[in-house]
């Protein structure tokens, strides 16, 4: 099917300066997927969903050389990327709010910077930016 000029790109390349943050997002997502597995306990029926999430994020990590480069095929990894970046965005928004409450200017600035980087990249990739 032909793509229109407004279609999101199929391949997105994360800029070099975003790679450390992207790598952290992906590793945090593995951690969070592992927590999901832990919560399955001895209920065999509960495992497929938790493992599917881990598989998605593992595939994205493999595709980026575990965060070494930022070439991402969105036709394959959109869901995992959306998951990882949304989770970190929510965390940074929380950090920003608590830094404001604690009057921590350094913390607020750092969170703002990360939020800006994440939102810009998500927009470029045509991902959904969750509401604040």
């Amino acid at each position: 099917m032909p793509t229109s000029p407004t279609d999101p790109p199929r391949i997105i390349v994360a800029p070099t300066e975003l790679l450390p943050l992207l790598q952290e997002c992906l590793l945090e997502c593995v951690h969070s997927a592992a927590e999901g597995v832990e919560q399955c306990g001895f209920d065999v029926e509960a495992y497929p969903d938790a493992l599917a999430r881990l598989d998605l994020i593992r595939a994205l990590l493999d595709a980026t050389g575990w965060g070494e480069h930022g070439d991402i095929d969105l036709s394959v990894h959109r869901e995992a990327l959306q998951d990882a970046l949304s989770e970190r965005l929510a965390t940074e928004r929380d950090m920003q709010a608590s830094a404001e409450q604690d009057a921590s200017e350094g913390g607020r600035q750092r969170a703002s910077e990360y939020i800006g980087q994440l939102v810009t990249f998500m927009q470029e990739a045509g991902l959904v930016i969750p509401n604040d």
């Binding site: 590793l27 592992a34 927590e35 597995v37 001895f42 065999v44 493992l51």
Partner: protein
């Protein structure tokens, strides 16, 4: 293929426990690709055994293909059962008997398949 017989249920529980343990260990890892990669590989090795026995629906296994994971999870489980067998209180009688039976099943399987049986108290 080796018939798992009475070991099947114990093996599934032991593998699930091992999966949970590996999952918990993520909490103490440095946020670096190397340690995470090793941990994910541990996770996948355990999962491969669960897949091979269809998460408890299939009562046989290729021991050679999964020897390392079987050695680890069965040895760990055996040590745990040995420990439970030492519980001396009267109320733990059923637990002692259950652990004894479980340990016997595990030891038989390990012996028959050339796995190393840990010493009691290890």
């Amino acid at each position: 293929m080796t018939d798992l017989g009475e070991l099947l249920e114990t093996l599934v529980q032991s593998l699930l426990y091992a999966l949970m343990t590996v999952a918990v260990e993520f909490d103490v890892l440095d946020m670096e690709p190397g340690p995470y990669r090793v941990q994910v590989e541990k996770f996948e090795a355990i999962r491969a055994v669960l897949d091979a026995i269809e998460w408890g629906a299939r009562g046989e296994i290729d021991v050679e293909a999964h020897r390392d994971v079987l050695q680890q999870v069965l040895a760990d489980r055996l040590i745990a059962e040995h420990s439970l067998m030492q519980e001396q209180s009267d109320t733990a009688k059923d637990q002692r008997e259950h652990s004894y039976a479980c340990a016997l099943t595990i030891e038989s399987f390990m012996h028959e398949n050339g796995l190393e049986i840990p010493q009691a108290g290890a």
